[in-house]
């Protein structure tokens, strides 16, 4: 396929209707339409539209400051001042039963900056569980969550040690375990392997692929190879807009938009 590189003035609305690139067999669980967000007078997201299949990983790539983290925060309800529509299983998340708190249990978010609570490792993993009784009897859950986060082997001896004594990479994995423990139905990960060694990275990726068999995962990453390894679909964001959404092999081999091509080739983006 040939893309005319001189054709600079892409119609912007083209980015809002990329659904045809999805695997059509899969049902859609989350649909975002015309999502816009301004913070402090600055437009951070504009006209964002995409959809998530019922399972599999969706990687979000794009230059720093593109609004990837902000997008995840909107989907999880940490940012509530957005406009547009976000629907999960056909229901608007603004009218979610039980309000934002319940939505956040449904849509887990692992933040970009790992932040553990001043408590033991075990307590951190159980932190999101309801009721102290559940938190007490969660040994099995703690184990499986930590295993999925590729942290169990390193901390199984010292589950009652303060979580703040862990290294940054370990804290990052603890945050993953903490989010997995509440069994979200959609999981958003913001650069989950940013401070990890190749081996831990690989373990986390394996866990992600395993989790993605049952639930949709959204993974923001700067590691393009990781996005390729995670298969699934890829969303390319730039300057607060979704430029392209496509299956990973397609986006990396035959990008449709000129911005995507530029980003992939030079890792720079000239969106305006």
């Amino acid at each position: 396929m040939v893309v005319d590189l001189r054709h600079k003035d892409f119609p912007q609305e083209a980015s809002a209707a990329p659904i045809e690139s999805l695997d059509n067999q899969q049902s859609v669980v989350l649909t975002v339409e015309k999502l816009a967000l301004s913070l402090g007078g600055k437009e951070i997201l504009q006209q964002v539209g995409f959809s998530l299949p019922a399972s599999g990983v969706t990687s979000v790539i794009g230059p720093s400051g593109a609004g990837k983290s902000s997008l995840l925060r909107c989907l999880n309800g940490l940012e509530t001042g957005w406009s547009g529509s976000v629907q999960i299983d056909g229901s608007d998340i603004r009218q979610w039963r039980g309000g934002w708190d319940q939505l956040r249990r449904h849509v887990g978010l692992i933040a970009q900056k790992p932040l553990v609570f001043d408590a033991s490792i075990r307590a951190n993993v159980c932190f999101g569980l309801h009721g102290w009784r559940q938190r007490r009897r969660a040994d099995e859950l703690v184990k499986t969550s930590l295993q999925q986060a590729a942290l169990w082997d390193e901390v199984c001896e010292r589950l009652d040690a303060p979580a703040t004594t862990l290294s940054v990479g370990q804290q990052q994995r603890l945050c993953i375990a903490r989010a997995i423990a509440i069994k979200p139905k959609i999981l958003l990960l913001d650069e989950p392997t940013a401070s990890l060694d190749p081996r831990s990275k690989q373990l986390i990726e394996q866990s992600m692929l395993q989790l993605a068999q049952a639930i949709p995962l959204v993974c923001v990453t700067h590691d393009l190879e990781q996005a390729q390894r995670l298969k699934g679909q890829v969303i390319f964001m730039c300057d607060g807009r979704v430029i392209e959404q496509a299956a990973s092999h397609q986006l990396f081999n035959q990008p449709q938009q000129i911005e995507t091509r530029e980003f992939l080739r030079w890792n720079v983006c000239d969106c305006d």
């Binding site: 940490l78 978010l109 609570f117 932190f127 509440i182």
Partner: protein, 282 residues
């Protein structure tokens, strides 16, 4: 010449600064020494734990009922103020709009600057007379609570301010409710500092005299309050009344003794607060 020896060389400028700084160090020390020197003759266990017989004009050697009266008032005042202080601070952090936050901030800073005697006067008019609570433990405690409230609120706010936003957000992201975030994230992290603030408020309540003078205390005639509606005697006002008697040496030495005990009491609360603060910082 090494840097260290340079530091210890005297220059005229250094001498001048030292001269100006010295009074600030010496005067409080001298005052303290003088208090304890004057108080020494009467300070003993009998003085501390004896009680007035209720008829003599304070010419009894014991100050135990005054000590208990002061503590009772301070504790009650803090107990009354705590829920309101916590409520205000939590409102400020969780629901208040930026505009309301500015208003609250300005208000409590201003409240802190109001002379306590003004609150005493309001207490006299409203609580003692209008509500007919009389000169009583309750009236005094409520007035004192108003006096220490800004201190408690501002301290609680400063404590909550030290909790980073990301910390609460990490809790939010896990689907914790506001209540759960407050109880399970904020409280464990800040209870030591809150306690420190409480002790400082206790010290403040113990040293206030003006607001309780018309609302809670009498000079004599009371040993133990029978209910929250009966008046008490306190160390602060005891010193005040005895000092007014002026020329009776025994009374004056009792006043010095009371002053020494009061200073020790306030200082111990202050020290305990400092200790907790150190603990909290580690």
């Amino acid at each position: 010449m090494s840097v260290a020896s340079q530091q210890y060389r005297y220059t005229p400028g250094k001498a001048l600064v030292l001269l100006l700084a010295l009074p600030a160090l010496l005067i409080p020390t001298m005052v303290l020494c003088y208090i304890f020197w004057q108080a020494a003759p009467v300070l003993n266990w009998g003085f501390l734990f004896g009680t007035a017989d209720g008829v003599g004009f304070g010419v009894t050697e014991g100050i135990f009922s005054q000590l208990v009266g002061s503590l009772l008032l301070a504790i009650m005042a803090c107990l009354i103020a705590i829920p309101f202080a916590l409520g205000t601070a939590l409102y400020y952090r969780t629901f208040a709009t930026p505009w309301q936050q500015r208003l609250l901030n300005a208000m409590f800073n201003m409240l802190q600057g109001i002379p306590p005697i003004v609150f005493g006067l309001c207490g006299l008019v409203v609580l003692v007379n209008l509500f007919s609570w009389g000169v009583s433990l309750l009236s005094g405690a409520v007035v004192l609570a108003v006096v220490v409230l800004p201190l408690l609120v501002l301290n609680t706010l400063a404590t909550l301010e030290r909790i980073p936003n990301e910390y609460s957000e990490a809790g939010s992201a896990l689907g914790l409710t506001k209540g759960a975030i407050i109880l399970r994230l904020w409280l464990p992290r800040s209870w030591l500092q809150l306690l420190t603030g409480l002790l400082l408020a206790m010290a403040r309540a113990l040293s206030e005299t003006a607001p309780i003078m018309f609302t809670a205390t009498v000079f004599s005639g009371v040993v133990w309050p029978d209910s929250i509606f009966s008046p008490v005697t306190t160390l602060q006002t005891h010193i005040f009344y005895l000092a007014q008697e002026g020329n009776e040496p025994l009374l004056i030495s009792i006043a010095w003794g009371s002053a020494a005990v009061l200073v020790l009491l306030v200082a111990s609360f202050g020290l305990l607060a400092r200790l907790l603060q150190k603990l909290g910082d580690n």
